[in-house]
Amino acid sequence: MIDVIVIGAGVTGCGIARELSRYDWRVMVLEKASDVCEGTSKANSGIVHAGFDAHPGTLKAKLNVEGSEQMEELAKELDFPYKRNGSLVLCFDEKDREKLQKLYEQGLKNGVKELRILEREELKQLEPNISDNTVAALYAPTGAIVCPFGLTIALAENAAANGVEFRLNTEVESIERTESGYRLTTNQGVLESKVVINAAGVCADRFHNMVSGNQIRIIPRKGEYCLMDKKVGDYVNRTIFQLPTVYGKGVLVTPTVHGNLLVGPTAVDVEDKEAVNTTGEGIADVLKRAALSVNALPAKQVITSFAGLRAHAIFENGESDFIIGEVQDAPGFFDAAGIESPGLSCAPSLGKYLVEQVLAYLPAEKKPDFIASRKGIPNMALATGEQRQQFIRENPLYANVVCRCELVTEGEIMDAIHRPLGATTLDGVKRRTRAGMGRCQAGFCSPKTVEILARELGKDMSEITKNEKGSEFLTGFDKDNL
């Protein structure tokens, strides 16, 4: 019998798992994909929102502001890339000043610190490339950027270090209530648990509805993005949002924590919960809207595009908020559902909030030997000359460059594979090290990375996948089919 099962190893599930691992429960995380961070957590803006967006009184507002305040500390504790770069909401029309003022006041109500409204001249000094049409902006110095993979993987690794068991490639097929809790039938067998936490992203409605008469509905809301070359990574320094205009909710233009420029997302509700395909219209729309925020958007510098699905919960009254807490007619079954934006920002706070409720249901003691910190993989690209020398002295493989665009070495790739919850796929290596994320998009390094994966995992190269089963790179040997 397991004490707590978490369904879903995205940023929400991993954040919850890490909080759970502070207590003496037996905790297991089930993930249908081959790795953590394979759903919405891998395809989003990578923004830690300051917290002025959400309506006061909502869970989104509360957890966002708390999460934003705690993220920097968490980044130090768990060693993932984070940068407080500040954010701006641009206003392009004098007539919209009222909306800007309202947003400012909403931010104050939510408890966002240091908010200010800036005028055009000051803005142009801060951000010379923002649109000449800008008249004023809301400035939130507490806005930040984070590596969504780095954050999720750090939470998962730390949870694992504290005893949480991760079962990957494990898909929950059905959930039944039992006398002592819940019975989960998975593609890997049956599991029994006293408590179940549903952090299944766009699929959370499916699991909720297996145990509750009060059905919920999660709509996958697609967001398409374009990522640009590091050459233009400093085109803006802050995260640039737009006030909602006649064109709808604007897209953002932001540096990423790794130094690229990111523009997006669109917002289109779709049916298919796996529809992470980009579309011609979507990409065109992103570039068109992003061009409203900055002068001469460097659209030719796009190195890749991608799409993610936000888990959008719809209530009958038309409102929208996170659904977090025990399901009324299913004791011991807790939802962390409808975690769309600002879900990533809430990673530090959401788990704490939920785990307090779990404690009330299933009391537990704090573990005396909880390990609070975690060290990431050495990062040769960001290291100083001296640090690089040090890493190379420890292991000469840190001097063998595999991914030339992002300067990722064989040493880092070996680390990514051999860590607890290590990478088993090319995407897994990519998200842990950035190998293949650069301007050539893995053209040069993927054969080498595939070879290293095969060697280290004791597999043949033909067994190595991009991500899930069925995504093998190689189909056989030369002349097999002749």
Binding site: V276, N277, I303, G385, N400, S462, L474, T475, F477, L482
Partner: protein
């Protein structure tokens, strides 16, 4: 560590440059190669057709490279393998270049060089840079990546293949994949003409009955784990897909051969001025960039069609770098700009110094479109001085004109040379 000359890249350009520099008397030189062997991308180009100009015989890529590697070994030119240059800067006075490198054996160290030859080659344009919409499954490769799997690893990256782009590597891979047992269903090319050599269209597509659809592109990629199909559509004159022309083609592999981009990140670090058309450095008659003592050649300078021309150009760069190091380059005199106009896409070099110019100067260029029964014209300050008829000019083939020093001297006070295409012949 100090060196007279550092050559970044041990492919065909780096090898030829190093050999020329050594033969011109530079002994304190070093080739830095990031791969495990010398020869660069030629090592995976196992088809023949290399060296017709240089050696008057048809060689495979490794054979062609082998001739230069043998020569470099014979001349005892030092080289480092598995060595990545991670930064290129210069001392504050600007005289010495600082080349920061990393490898397993020696770790991280900096070489102070009096001259540097950039010979880093190029990379392939990726799916992302092409903005092709759809899913992101396994089975999408640049043609060169597939070539590495097939020719170096003996592995097949797919069974049923669609190729987007008719660049030379794509055409070569259409044939290679077919010979190795895959079914190549189609080569789609966005432009109304091929980006590859005519001989490759004939030998790699026509001879194998592989259809080439010009003015077509991929508008969607299907398949969540592995490519299951691509949707190909015809494009209009603005290169936009024409609704209603979409055709879904089932396949498990999409190869991309949509252009090559010189790898100039290091040149950028150093602050070398680039040509936005070629994405390579702007160079003068000596193939010297606007940073003194920094020369460029091969595909890092501009993408070539034939490796023979890479070798030729690189030899020149090596020779001129040697002259620079020995103080034999003339004092700079008057600079004459070379302008690419009327259908000429760019020229290399983009300027000539009258003092430094040798008796003849090769000016290489590519055209921006297909021209039939046209003429390549050279004009001095607007006055046509030569006109050479060409039956066909195509973007896939590199062209050249040869300028004579005597002619330039005769045209006293000349400020500008222009190279253009005249179409009304």
């Amino acid at each position: 560590m100090k060196k007279e000359l550092v050559i970044i890249g041990g492919g065909p350009a780096g090898l030829a440059a190093a050999i020329a520099a050594k033969e011109a008397g530079i002994n304190d030189l070093l080739i830095l190669e990031r791969d495990a062997r010398l020869g660069g991308i030629l090592n995976q180009c196992i088809h023949n057709g290399f060296g017709l100009h240089t050696f008057k015989e048809e060689l495979t890529g490794p054979e062609y490279a082998g001739k230069y590697i043998d020569k470099a070994l014979e001349l005892e030119i030092p080289y480092e393998l598995n060595t990545m240059v991670i930064d290129l800067t210069q001392t504050s006075e600007g005289k010495e270049k600082l080349v920061t490198v990393m490898n397993r054996e020696k770790g991280l160290y900096t070489i102070e060089a009096r001259a540097v030859i950039l010979a880093m080659g190029c990379r392939e344009r990726s799916r992302g840079a092409l903005n092709i919409p759809g899913f992101r499954p396994a089975g999408i490769y640049s043609a060169g990546t597939a070539q590495r799997y097939v020719n170096m690893e003996g592995r097949m990256p797919g069974r049923e293949v669609v190729i987007l782009g008719s660049g030379d590597i794509g055409l070569i891979m259409a044939r290679r994949m077919t010979l190795e047992g895959a079914k190549v269903k189609l080569v789609a090319e966005l432009m109304p003409y091929s980006g590859g050599l005519k001989r490759n269209i004939v030998q790699c597509l026509d001879d194998f009955g592989i259809p080439l659809k010009l003015s077509h592109t991929v508008v969607d990629i299907k398949g969540k784990e592995r490519v299951e199909a691509v949707v190909v559509a015809q494009v209009d004159e603005q290169l936009k897909a024409i609704p209603g022309t979409e055709e879904e083609i089932s396949c498990d592999t999409l190869l991309l051969s949509c252009g090559l981009i010189p790898e100039n990140e290091l040149s950028g670090n150093l602050g070398v001025t680039m040509n936005p058309v070629t994405n390579g450095p702007l160079v003068d008659e000596s193939l010297e960039t606007d940073k003194e003592g920094v020369f460029a050649c091969g595909n890092v300078l501009h993408v070539h069609d034939l490796v023979d021309y890479v070798s030729e150009e690189a030899s020149q760069a090596g020779k001129r770098a040697a002259a620079y190091l020995k103080g034999e380059l003339e004092e700079r005199g008057r600079k004459i700009l070379i302008r690419a106009v009327n259908g000429v896409h760019y020229t290399v070099p983009s300027s000539i110094d009258m003092q430094r110019m040798e008796q003849t100067q090769v000016v290489r260029f590519r055209v921006g479109n297909v021209y039939r029964d046209a003429a390549v014209e050279v004009a001095f300050d607007g006055k046509v001085v030569s006109s050479r008829k060409k039956k066909v000019l195509a973007p896939g083939e590199m062209e050249q004109v040869i300028l004579k020093k005597a002619d330039l001297e005769q045209a006293e006070g000349i400020k500008e040379i222009s190279v253009s295409i005249r179409r009304d012949t």
